[in-house]
């Protein structure tokens, strides 16, 4: 089952670049250039130290790219592969895991950007704080798995959900402290935009360890509880509807 997921995900990546020369590096390179220029510009505009702002923006954005891929394309995994489900008995989890692999590949090939900028700016990121990732990675994976199941089931049944999710995702990136930092937001702003924003807490537990800090305790607790809840809900949904999904595809 895992072999198939991995093979499908790997083929997808290979096919994207099969006839290009430096293939995947174009995407990484252009993202690096974009983030670097934005960081230079905005750190001047907002008068923040570039040493502080650049790692914040770069790591936040690369984690966000992973999340956006998981969420928006996650809606489509059943409908896009309808021919598979109609021809062989295929557990839904195979394609869910395949999609997570696709997200991991994307993240891994952007990860060098974070590391290179960290090295250039001499950020002390190889520290004890990296151990927080032992918590963050499983939390990310379980949440991704559950979120894909929920989104895929609901948007297979109600086709509008994909468009709705896609537009929410494109707005969410501005409401989450990725381009800006929470220090720039006033007390009230934080109360309404930051504290209840689950995406922020997920980015926080991953971003902080990558740039040499420890995540705040509240985010750790918040993500932990949310992960348990979303996992339970996704299993409930899958069990309730797994026999019906094939008729909706």
């Amino acid at each position: 089952m895992n072999e198939l997921s991995l093979s499908l995900a790997w083929t997808e990546v290979r096919l994207k670049y099969i006839r290009t020369k430096i293939g995947p590096f174009w995407e990484t390179l252009s993202l690096a250039i974009l983030l670097f220029t934005l960081a230079v510009l905005w750190s001047k505009l907002w008068k923040i130290e570039i040493n502080e702002y650049l790692p914040h923006l770069v790591s936040g954005m690369i984690i966000w790219r992973y999340m956006a891929l998981i969420i928006t394309d996650g809606c489509l995994i059943f409908t896009r592969h309808d021919y598979i489900f109609k021809s062989v008995p295929m557990p839904f989890s195979v394609l869910v895991i395949k999609h997570i692999y696709a997200g991991i590949f994307l993240f891994l090939h952007h990860l060098p950007i974070i590391i290179i900028f960290n090295l250039i700016l001499k950020i002390d990121f190889i520290s004890i704080n990296l151990f927080y990732l032992i918590y963050s990675v499983p939390i990310f994976l379980i949440t991704s798995y559950s979120a894909i199941i929920i989104l895929a089931i609901t948007s297979t049944r109600f086709r509008d959900i994909h468009s709705l999710t896609a537009s929410l995702v494109s707005v969410l990136v501005f409401f989450t402290p990725i381009f800006w930092t929470i220090d720039q937001m006033g007390e009230t702003g934080r109360k309404y935009f930051v504290t209840p924003n689950i995406v922020y807490h997920y980015i926080e537990i991953f971003r902080k360890p990558l740039i040499g800090h420890s995540p705040n305790f509240f985010s750790v607790i918040f993500t932990f509880i949310f992960t348990i809840l979303i996992f339970i809900f996704s299993m409930y949904l899958l069990n309730k509807y797994k026999k019906r999904i094939i008729f909706w595809i």
Partner: protein, 248 residues
């Protein structure tokens, strides 16, 4: 020992996203399934109270007009659909060949595609690797095996898919109308392969519109009408009944 036991199986397809007006119009007796309406949900009854036992050595031919439920029945056995009610008991490794090219990736070489097709059909990676050479020999593709599949003719593609899926020896084999495809060359090839796997399988279930194929491969025929089993018996008897009664 392979065996399939079905008890009072019912299966309906819900119709989603069709408005009431159109629904009224599609109630048409030429449609195979029975359309049911309860409350606001509309569904098509595809299988109606099916009770059946298939034993070792059975070579089942499914006959019936379009929409009689043949493919649904096969998909149910394959594990693609779940019944609304009733019990299914299947003993033995079951394999369907509904789409031998499932998993085929045109940009990749035939060589790499062998693994993809195999994994997609539920095989373990190590089992496929053990049979790699045999599969390649079976395809008869020669050096083409290292070229991307997009350069293949459709006959060559079929040959590739077919060689992979036929290299496994399932105890229960499900087939849906696929023998008639491809050119004469492929037909010969398919027939040879087919005989091979059918001989090895304990139970065969085959849906077809061709009496010739049914007579050639089957020793028991089941006639489906509107999702119900109307007759079950020897090929001669059922095919005669089917033709003479002109069941639509």
């Amino acid at each position: 020992m392979a065996r399939i036991i079905l008890k009072n199986i019912n299966l309906s397809f819900p119709i989603i996203g069709t408005d009431i007006y159109i629904r009224g119009k599609i109630i048409n007796k030429f449609i195979g399934g029975k359309i049911e309406e309860n409350k606001k949900k509309i569904s098509i009854k595809a299988l109606d109270n099916i009770t059946l036992q298939l034993n070792d050595g059975d070579r089942i031919g499914l006959v019936g007009h379009n929409g009689a439920g043949k493919s649904t029945f096969l998909s149910l056995l394959a594990g693609i659909y779940w019944p609304d009610s009733g019990d299914i008991k299947i003993e033995g490794k079951i394999q369907n060949l509904f789409d031998p090219n499932l998993g085929l990736e045109p940009e990749e070489s035939g060589y790499k595609n062998i693994l993809k097709i195999g994994l997609m059909h539920g095989f373990k990676k190590k089992d496929i690797i053990n049979k790699y050479q045999k599969i390649i020999d079976d395809t008869n593709l020669g050096d083409y095996i290292h070229l991307p599949v997009r350069t293949y003719s459709s006959g060559m593609r079929l040959r590739l898919g077919f060689s992979v899926v036929s290299s496994l020896s399932p105890e229960i084999l499900l087939l849906d109308e696929m023998i008639g495809v491809g050119d004469k060359n492929f037909q010969e090839f398919a027939k040879k392969k087919m005989n091979e796997i059918i001989d090895n399988a304990s139970i065969l279930v085959l849906a077809s519109h061709s009496n010739k194929i049914i007579e050639q491969f089957c020793n028991r025929v089941i006639l489906l009408v509107n999702g119900k089993i109307i007759k079950d018996g020897s090929p001669m008897e059922i095919l005669d009944y089917y033709q003479n009664n002109g069941i639509q």
